[in-house]
């Protein structure tokens, strides 16, 4: 789900060594080393910015609160983290990563070139890159000047993504984030039921999440009973129609998300469609199959409103973790398959002229099917 990027993420960030100790990162780096060996890369440069930093956080634990960060991860030698912050901000940045060697990236040649010079190379060498599509051109130009003709960059996004396997510690943190998202949704719903407007209820929910150490909170709310969702607009008064909103909460580096939706006649239809996805969710099931199940269920139960809600952009879910969208979008033509260990955010929505309704769930794929991490609305017992 796309939401507005804030100018800075204000939540509390640090490296909690109790939850994600150093050895967890060593396991991740070991997997990255294997990718480097397979591709004969001397290093991997992992770039992330304030808006998207999943890979950077995975390998370094660092989250850019604003601008960008880049982990320089050599096959042999010491890693270095460059962050786009002033030198006086670096001590605070060091608290967010296991990498001890952290520098301001503002004076690029003085911090990148000496690190590059230490790479063990004879003649031309290859370096893998991650996240470089997001990099601004001026920084890329500086990087190219540093590399000269001696190093070639190779796009490593897909190969590095494939080596990222969620392990128990990560799954535990995703469950914690999911739990906070669900609690946030409860506050939202209670506030709305008490008579507050949708944005006033959203604000109550956001405050509750932030007071519980949420690192980021994103919301979309509806002022027309779920027909459309919009970013914050400062309309705190009551709005007509049912309740519909999307909530994403980041906690300890991981995201959980959930829809709150009540009061529209389409609600049973979207719940049935979510049931249909869940009934088929299992390892090796293809995304397109799940999408088809949802559409089929909607067409069976929602009369004329069998199309997905536009706000879902044709997808009934995706992987979730360090990013609210880790890929694997469940679309009409998706050949992505559910994998054991992955956590998915699933969602169904439908709308008509009078409004719209949503249902969502987070599931962890297991060898036997899935574990339900949470569901937006528990189905009524018959």
């Amino acid at each position: 789900m796309r939401t507005v990027n804030p100018s800075i993420v204000i939540g509390s960030y640090g490296w909690d060594q109790d939850r994600v100790p150093r050895d967890e990162f060593q396991l991740r780096i070991d997997a990255l080393n294997r990718v480097m060996d397979q591709n004969h890369w001397k290093a991997v440069l992992v770039y992330g910015d304030m808006a998207e930093h999943s890979a950077l956080a995975y390998f370094s634990n660092f989250t850019p609160r604003l601008r960008w960060g880049m982990a320089l991860l050599p096959r042999k030698g010491d890693p270095r983290l460059l962050v786009s912050m002033s030198p006086r901000d670096i001590p605070a940045m060091r608290l967010m990563t296991w990498i001890p060697d952290v520098h301001s990236g503002w004076n690029w040649p003085s911090v990148f070139d000496p690190w590059l010079a230490k790479l063990d190379t004879e003649g031309a060498a290859d370096i893998g890159t991650v996240g470089f599509d997001m990099m601004r051109p001026p920084l890329f130009t500086s990087l190219q000047q540093s590399l000269g003709n001696r190093f070639r960059l190779q796009d490593g996004d897909a190969q590095v993504a494939a080596c990222r396997t969620p392990r128990p510690r990560a799954r535990s943190l995703i469950r914690a984030a999911s739990s906070l998202a669900a609690e946030t949704a409860d506050v939202f719903r209670q506030s709305w039921v008490s008579g507050k407007g949708v944005e006033a209820a959203a604000l109550d929910a956001e405050r509750a999440a932030r007071l519980r150490a949420a690192q980021d909170v994103r919301m979309l709310t509806s002022h027309d009973g779920g027909r459309t969702l919009v970013p914050f607009r400062g309309s705190l008064g009551p709005a007509p129609g049912g309740l519909a909103a999307y909530i994403a909460v980041k906690h300890m580096g991981y995201w959980g998300d959930v829809f709150v939706s009540e009061g529209h006649a389409l609600q049973p239809a979207v719940e049935s469609a979510l049931d249909a996805i869940l009934a088929s969710a299992a390892p090796d099931v293809m995304g397109a199959v799940l999408h088809a199940k949802a559409i089929e269920a909607l067409s069976r139960t929602a009369l004329n409103s069998h199309a997905l809600h536009p706000v879902l952009s044709g997808s009934v879910g995706n992987r979730i973790g360090y990013s609210p969208d880790e890929g694997g979008r469940l679309t009409q033509d998706s050949d992505d398959m559910f994998k054991i260990g992955d956590t998915y955010s699933l969602r169904v929505g439908a709308h008509d002229a009078g409004g719209g309704a949503f249902a969502s769930a987070m599931v962890a794929i297991t060898s036997k099917g899935y574990d339900l991490v949470h569901r937006s609305t528990a189905p009524k017992k018959s």
């Binding site: 002033s86 470089f132 601004r136 051109p137």
Partner: protein
Amino acid sequence: MGIQETRLRETALYLGREALDGLIAVNFGHNSFLESHAVFVLSGVRPIGESAVVVDRSGGSTLIVTPAWDAERATTLSHTEKTIGTDDLPSALARVLAARSIDLTKTVTVGLSTVGQGLVQRIEAVLGGKARSNESFIRSLARIRSQEELAAASKATEIAEAGYQHMLACVKPGMREFELAAELYCAMKQEGAEDNFLLMSASQHNLAVRAAGGRILDVGDIILSEITPCYQGQFVQICRTTLIGEPTPLMREKYAVLQRAMRAGQAAAVPGAAVRDVTQHIDDCFRQAGYGDYCKPPYMRVRGHGLGITSDLPGDLTVESEGLLEEGMMFVMHPNQYLPETGYLMCGEPVVITPQGAKALSSREAELDSVAA
């Protein structure tokens, strides 16, 4: 005529003067409070994702937003002639350029240097390498705030001050920094702040301000806050220093140096003044107090800076600046300073340039505030 219509018209006139067919302004879906948001300046819309505005020489304009489902909201808000929603910005851009019969060899781009290079490459493929760039066009076009923008900035300043008052009311020893930041942030959002570049941190002896963390507030802490709400696209910033407990006479004496520097900067900041000279006036106050060696990093960074997302001009207030002040420019002036006796202290206001100097938008100048221990 609103400011966006005025700027769209001025853009068309610029295209005419330069014998150009069209201008393409782009944004990546980021909202930097230190940069000009070219799409917002021309359309009045902050799209959720990557976006563009196309302006042709006749004054016709199209806003292209992503994701596609945001089109209805964008259409309601936009001042452009047309609005399109898409999930594929380069393809939609190609269609708009063709529909407006814009000659790509007579096209100028703005904002591509702020966009991820993956998207840049796709846009450049559409343009065939034929367009030129003028990265400073929009920030220059919008460097003088309009009356409606100043009204929004004033409202943003009211929000900032109300937020700070809320912070004073709820801060207490034992709170964690992030809890206080949550209270401050949500109080300002309740007043209408659509975004907030909020830095807030505390220490017994600060070296700088940073984003809130998990530190537990204690008696004797000096809380630094850089409160930066955005209202209708206008970021403003107030910088405040708050002590948990009673300030000592020494702290009051040192804080007064910052206040003198602020007033000196405001007095010097008249239309036509060089930014570097204004900075020197501020630095002079610290030199006179015996802190000349501290007028450089890491003891301070800049004496103020422009504020996005309209225009970041006049840029950073430094002694190296080449900028000149113009009446109607709006920015934050902040003689924030590390002093060895007190640590880092903050004092700053959003100001607008007038013939009488830099007028603060805030209702009271920064004081060394304190709350009960």
